[in-house]
Amino acid sequence: MENKGYREFPVISNEAVVENIYRMDLGGDFIAEPGQFFMLRSKGAGPLLSRPLSICDISQGYLTFLYAVVGEGTAILSRKRPGDAVQLLGPLGNSYKVKSERKTALIGGGIGIAPLLYIAKTAEIKPDIYLGFRDAPFFEKEFEAYAGKLQIATETGGVGYRGFVTDIRNWDDYDELFACGPMPMLKALSRKVVDCELYLSLEAHMACGIGACLGCAVETVHGMKRVCKDGPIFSAKELIL
């Protein structure tokens, strides 16, 4: 019962890194595992429910979220200024660790790159990182220090490999893959990968974030599982996508 529910944290900075994508830093001493998320909301007027945002990075004295503005809730977050407060519940969900004895690649698509940074930063050995974007890449420089190999794909071909990040290569020479991104990307990857362990971090509409509402349920070979409580990370073998 040490979990105290929603707590308030001050916004240190909140800036657009590219159109519609924001980086928000919150002050505080945060302890969380890579791959976990928080439920986030602004105090006062706004939507009833909170927004689940994955941890992008944790540093001494602050926590970083990277988020896309998709609706009213995230639009309100994007207007927060330094000194404003936001309310957080968490950290929530399971986690993922890159292990030294496993040759690992992290694959992100669009805003799905967000959780990869803290996963790479806490890895026992530098993973290879593949990031896919529709057009202009964003936030990719942050990954340089933590990547074995860093490769960019853009659908327009403006930067890096032209096409989907999932098509960059044959993935089966890795022992393990961790991917986060839009569902079509995750499905494509599941079909391509035959011979290595694939973990997927899922996004879902959720009301509570703590496993009570069953709103974020996904179908697995072991029945329905909750993205918020049993996930957000699942083995691709387990999921029925």
Partner: protein, 302 residues
């Protein structure tokens, strides 16, 4: 705040609403569920149900829509695996039961008869399953059949959970009272519609889904008021209760107790905060027992 609900003594009138509190475990990480008056379980059915596919949650102004579809492990698994742990909380456990047909309900009740649970909440109001559920809760004639059948096999206290989608909520309440219900809880969610205009189709696979949250509170409160005034049964008020003031409004409208639902999703500590707020309010107003304000706005429960 001790409250008598149809002869069962609750430590306070705050009940966690079915489907918003799981079997209590998740909330145990945030507070001791033993402080609650009661917990209504996730809706239980005879057979396990995986629930609905596709979108299950959609946020609306001051509310949300859900289409979970009674996902649950079955009554038998509940009794074997969840009930013993829930018993350790030291609060009243209310088994919420749904079904596809009268026989399903009867068999589910039979299994629960063998347990030490004292209150059954009969769900005839779930809008999110294809058969049964709310189908029993729209017309008085269907409600009469199911409540009559269940009353015959149920020796526990029988609380019927009413749908706000009933043709006439007061007639529905009369019908349940005539068929021997011990208490009524209302309301379940309002059947509602949301459309995804980009894809030109309904947000939910089932087209409609259940609306809950602060948006429905004034309507639900009016229904509780009307039913409490009309029927000589304890009424448990449900609908958009988010804070202690909302809870007090329901008591003043005539509710014996209240259930908190959607607000548990908004903040896992909502219910402890409501209990504390009500205690402070009673102290400030010099209220010894909630009966002093119950139904105080008029009606026959004052």
């Amino acid at each position: 705040m001790r409250t008598d609900l149809a002869g069962i003594s609750l430590k306070n009138p705050l009940i966690a609403a079915s489907g918003t509190f799981g079997f209590g475990q998740e909330f145990g990480e945030y507070f001791d569920p033993g402080i609650l008056g009661a917990i209504a379980t996730k809706g239980l059915t005879l057979e396990p149900r995986m629930g609905n596919r596709g979108r299950r949650i959609h946020e609306t102004p001051a509310g949300m829509m859900n289409s979970i579809g009674l996902q649950n492990p079955s009554v038998a698994v509940f009794i074997a695996e969840e009930l013993p742990r829930m018993r350790s909380y030291g609060t009243e456990i209310i088994a919420n039961v749904g079904g596809a047909g009268i026989e399903d309900y009867e068999e589910a009740i039979e299994l629960l008869e063998a347990t030490d649970i004292s209150i059954i909440e009969l769900n005839i109001s779930c809008p999110n399953v294809k058969e049964g559920g709310m189908a029993f809760g729209i017309r008085c004639s269907s409600a009469r059949r199911i409540v009559r059948a269940i009353r015959r096999c149920c020796t526990k206290k029988l609380m019927v959970k009413l749908s706000p989608n009933a043709e006439n909520i007061v007639d529905m309440a009369y019908t349940c009272a005539e068929e021997g219900a011990d208490a009524l809880s209302l309301v379940n969610t309002f059947n509602a519609l949301a459309i995804d205009i980009e894809n030109r189709r309904p947000v939910f696979n089932n087209v409609t889904a259940g609306l809950s949250g602060p948006a429905i509170k004034p309507i639900a409160l009016r229904m509780v008021y009307e039913v409490a005034k009309a029927v000589d049964l304890p009424v448990v008020g449900i609908g958009g209760i988010s804070n202690w003031k909302d809870a007090v409004e329901y008591i003043m409208a005539g509710a014996t107790a209240v259930q908190v639902g959607t607000a548990n999703f908004v903040d896992p500590l909502t219910m402890p905060k409501i209990i504390e707020g009500m205690q402070l309010y009673m102290k400030r107003e010099g209220i010894q027992n909630l009966s002093e304000i119950r139904g105080i706005i008029g009606g026959n429960h004052g």
